[in-house]
Symmetry: C2
Subunit: 342 residues, 2 copies
Amino acid sequence: MKRKITLKDIAKELDVSISTVSKALKNSREIGKETTDKVQAFAKLYNYRPNNIALSLKNKHTKNIGVIIPDIVHYFFTTVFSGIENYANSKGYNVIICVSNESFDKEVINMEMLTNGSVDGFIMSLSAETQQKKDFNHLIEVQNQGIPLVLFDRVTDDVSCDKVILDDKKISIDVIQKFYDSRKRKIAIVTNQGFFSVSDKRAEGYREGLLKNNIFVDTALELKLNYKNIDENAIRHFFQNNEVDAVFCVNEIFAISCMKIVQSLGMKVPEQISFIGFTDGLLSRFSNPSLSIVAQHGDKMGEMAAKMLIDKIEAEFEDDEVATFRTEIIQATILERESTIN
Amino acid sequence: MKRKITLKDIAKELDVSISTVSKALKNSREIGKETTDKVQAFAKLYNYRPNNIALSLKNKHTKNIGVIIPDIVHYFFTTVFSGIENYANSKGYNVIICVSNESFDKEVINMEMLTNGSVDGFIMSLSAETQQKKDFNHLIEVQNQGIPLVLFDRVTDDVSCDKVILDDKKISIDVIQKFYDSRKRKIAIVTNQGFFSVSDKRAEGYREGLLKNNIFVDTALELKLNYKNIDENAIRHFFQNNEVDAVFCVNEIFAISCMKIVQSLGMKVPEQISFIGFTDGLLSRFSNPSLSIVAQHGDKMGEMAAKMLIDKIEAEFEDDEVATFRTEIIQATILERESTIN
DNA sequence: GAAAAAAACGAAAACGGTTTCGTGTTAATA
DNA sequence: TATTAACACGAAACCGTTTTCGTTTTTTTC
């Protein structure tokens, strides 16, 4: 097992100083051609690579970015992450990922773990619990330490930082409009119970979309489900007791679950009842009928988040003016498949 | 923006030496009670945290582990990763993740990126291209540098290291047996074209399972699909031209795709034709009928891999005896849902 | 041929910790 | 009271780099 070779090793072996080796390796004009060649040849032979940790310590940056997401076994987050990883890698950054499991405590523990110099910045999406508690001190703290932060998707107005979000409300209005245009009038929404900023925005859009078309907003047509434990009886009950011809779901699991039950109740999708969900995952692509959805373009979101973060990181050492924050909006699109009619 | 406070800052402020501060913070008996209290109070007040990078440099380990997987937008890998992350975190390790995108080049680039001191060890699953090329020099190289490596799922006999795999072959035999026991005799397999070690093992099990029950192995009943571009016509053609009453698929996407087409061809699942797939993902749970599958228990796999790696890492500084490698086998289980009969 | 400039290299500080090994005080012991 | 042990602390090395600032030697220039 050959140990990693260091500058010191090379220096000793070639009988020059460490600084000479370092400079020779970077083709400094300070060092003579002969020495440079000798050093480089030796370094190549022994496959010398500078130690990253030492570089980090010296340069005060790690070229690591921390990503904290609520869940990894989750299509949307996974696509966002993919976008982040891609962009980050292309810029020479590695990404350290922590999952909060929707828990506030794990979120702060994870942040603290990474705040001690391990990363140059954070990209994160708030856990359910954090959104519920509305306690953002860990985010503020991190920012105070000069570590840039960008929030995506599940964001909050209570902390000022860069953000990248979907136009959840607008696209939801569009969804309702599409339903309306295909002569649907009894439009239901299936959303999360609890405290998801995005679900709320989608519900807002739903209501506004109805109003815009002079449809009475009937709260009886709003079904709230628990994302980690879907109550099929509640769904069945809902559809048995409400006359509905279109359903807007805030995620694909809700949509598929409802669609399956509705079909088992003997209704035809999309002829009698149309469905549109969120998230362009496998489920919607392979369901029967395949589900029309609003595509969130997670990869673009991730890419954008990574770009914003890295821009901030690399601008950091410029000046100490007050930072200025942007929030970028990713355009969602409706992808029509078999669960809707025109 | 208050900068991070260092030992030096505390020392200067309290007019003691850096070493005193360091020791006081660790409750060294070398330091007097008064000084210790004073230092700790100050440190707490200013929320001092030791700089991780400095520690890494000093201690020659980073408490980071590198995970390289072929794809992140992928249920199975995501569950494995979840297991890794969980265990690693509980042991105070962070995990840096890189995705190879099934590309050999990206795999070696990623490894090289992390080999320069950024991680204490690797957990990985081989990319498709790597399995095809059978070039494992980057793995050997990493091991030569004394960095422990554990391979999971997509492994190779060509490099000796710790491994954790599924009993792919055995469980496949079990699947065939289950088909046989429910009076199925015309059993097909839908597998990957190409070079996936796991798919091959499953196909082996399929054949052995047939043989065991004295069923003729008919290669006409082996359908090979491209995982990134599923040819629906090939599937249709296959099922129109072969009489089949049970299908074993090496992943859930193949299973769902086939099931959908078979149903559109007017066959009843599971009465006329049964399906069993691999991967306990959303697709199989929410398909119609829901798909019976062999559960790979990715989380357990990840946990095991992480445990093996961390054990190796922390044993590292013991002795220089020849390392001894284990390969752990995770027990797969068949999960019956609606796509099979008894 | 002497002064100035250029070339080639090394010493040392710095990044932020830990740790070993002094060293000066005070307290205990003979 | 002299000697030793215990106590409380500091200096310095070390981890592996980079970089500034000498210093020495050689080359130019006048």
